[in-house]
């Protein structure tokens, strides 16, 4: 059910509380708003409390900024009242975190299994956790320094970050992330990570191999695989997106350098076995993506130019092409900042493919051998940045380079 305008406005009001207050209480108050009968009174009450909290010295970062912040609150309130009819057709909202960090690009992006929690990384190592329950109003919950490449466990309890090595964070309470453990030093060579569907295993991919950790208790990760014999520290061999099959027995890892995917058998978690490698495109740049269907029988791959292939992986040692589609040129030539992302709907009948963060194409893939084009949406460009689809394919999350903001589009 779609939220009413009052519910949306109420959530937006939570965004006006000072950052320090939000980091502590936003998640809880959003949960209360989920259950509460939200009325105009709720919205006015939140606005008044947000304004009062902004004036509270306990939540004020610096006295010099007080007046500016106060004026901004007032201006924002006025602007909302003035723009009420327009406020809900806008597609993006960026929170003003304008004073705190150097504006460097966003690198990493990860979404929880329920599509409510997003982790982004930017700059050298700044990680941020966001609540996107209301996709129009992403809510910053916390931030900390950890690294750049990210993976969120499907149950949203654990975050894995590749920094100087892989670290695990307990994010059960995303407003208070806590470092739980660090994996061995050699994991600094890792360039891809994926959590198993049950959130109990973490696969760490590096050029030429896979390490598997039992992370049932993120504070006590257990290495299931032996250390790599000769770790490659050549970062030009970065490997790309990786994903477990829904039954957790297969791991698909896209390798860098070209659009190819290697399937690993994780039937025995302590002995990952490379089964096969298939090439799915020759487009440049090789920034394609992959996705397993919910039944695990199909692997979809897409190149940066929208060349889509459905692979029958019933026998993962010898995948066959079920169908292949081309949806033509995407418009502006892709450059090094774009890519392609893919996700199946939960019922496995629809495949969403997003190209270069500007164009979203949906396919009816009920019949894996005869895919039907459903619709094609071209949106305002979010600008270069990282982007990905929520696991149900219903929303596109984009963390723009050059700004510490998050954009969410519902598809």
């Amino acid at each position: 059910m779609n939220p009413t305008w009052a519910e949306r406005l109420a959530r937006r009001m939570v965004g006006w509380y000072p950052r320090r207050w939000r980091e502590r209480y936003a998640e809880e108050i959003l949960e209360v708003l989920d259950q509460h009968q939200v009325s105009v009174r709720t919205v006015v009450n939140l606005a008044a409390n947000a304004a009062a909290t902004r004036l509270d010295p306990a939540y004020r970062p610096a006295t010099s900024a007080t007046l500016r912040r106060f004026l901004r609150t007032g201006a924002a309130l006025l602007a909302t009242v003035a723009a009420m009819p327009a406020a809900f057709v806008g597609v993006q909202l960026a929170f003003g975190e304008e004073t705190e960090f150097g504006m460097t690009g966003a690198h990493g992006l990860a979404v929880s299994g329920d599509g409510r929690l997003v982790a982004t990384s930017s700059g050298a190592s700044r990680v941020r956790l966001w609540n996107i329950t209301d996709p129009r109003h992403p809510m910053l919950l916390s931030h900390f320094d950890a690294g750049t490449t990210l993976a969120v466990s499907p149950d949203a309890h654990t975050l894995a970050v590749i920094g100087k090595r892989v670290t695990l964070w307990n994010i059960t309470d995303p407003t208070r992330p806590a470092r739980a453990a660090a994996l061995p030093e050699y994991t600094r060579h890792a360039s891809a990570m994926a959590f198993a569907p049950d959130s109990r295993s973490l696969a760490v991919g590096y050029h030429g191999g896979v390490l598997v950790y039992d992370v049932t208790d993120p504070a006590r990760p257990r290495s299931l695989t032996p250390p790599p014999r000769q770790p490659a520290d050549d970062s030009s061999h970065d490997i790309g997106p990786s994903q477990f099959s829904p039954d957790g027995r297969l791991l698909a890892i896209k390798s860098g350098g070209s659009d190819q995917v290697t399937l690993w058998s994780l039937a025995d978690r302590s002995a990952p076995r490379s089964l096969t490698t298939v090439v799915f495109g020759h487009d440049e740049p090789p920034f394609g993506d992959l996705a397993f269907s919910p039944d695990g029988a199909t692997l979809a791959t897409a190149t940066v130019h929208g060349h889509l292939t459905l692979w029958n992986v019933t026998d993962p040692a010898s995948p066959t092409v079920a169908s292949s589609m081309d949806d033509g040129p995407v418009g502006p030539a892709p450059d090094a900042t774009v890519g392609s992302v893919l996700a199946f709907s939960l019922d496995g009948r629809t495949l969403s493919s997003v190209l270069g963060s500007v164009r979203s194409v949906r396919w009816d893939v009920t019949d894996r051998t005869r895919c039907r084009h459903v619709d094609d949406l071209t949106r305002a460009d979010a600008g270069p940045g990282s982007f990905m689809l929520t696991p149900d394919g219903r929303a596109l999350v984009s963390a723009a380079h050059g700004a510490d903001t998050l954009h969410v589009w519902t598809l």
């Binding site: 109420a10 998640e27 809880e28 259950q35 009174r41 709720t42 009450n45 909290t53 309470d173």
Partner: protein
């Protein structure tokens, strides 16, 4: 039986209502709201609730417990209990005086 007060018509301080609710058992935000509505008839809004919760927590009168699936229960501290007892005592005093003064007035003697 309660008359339903909205917040503009309330007389009780939200802090007293919250402490009273938590004096019974620890509760998360929404449970506090429903409990308060039930025993006092005051329909508290989330903004007021969290404004008061944040203040009470800073004063050390309540303390947050571990989050359970996005909900965080709060419990009253010993200091919170004693502050609540003092507040209630003073309210009793006000109630006593107020009741005495609102009794039908006798004809004024000249």
């Amino acid at each position: 039986m309660h008359t339903k007060f909205d917040e503009s018509g309330r007389f009780a301080d939200p802090s007293v209502l919250i402490l009273t609710s938590l004096a019974e058992s620890p509760k998360h935000g929404y449970a506090i709201m429903t409990d308060v509505a039930e025993f006092s008839g005051v329909a508290m809004e989330p903004g007021t609730l969290y404004g008061a919760l944040a203040r009470l927590e800073r004063q050390g009168w309540i303390t947050p417990m571990a989050t359970e699936v996005r909900r965080r229960p709060y419990q009253i501290t010993a200091a919170g209990r004693s502050v609540l007892a003092q507040q209630l005592q003073s309210m009793r005093e006000i109630a006593r005086v107020g009741q005495a003064r609102t009794r039908p007035a006798r004809p004024a003697s000249a």
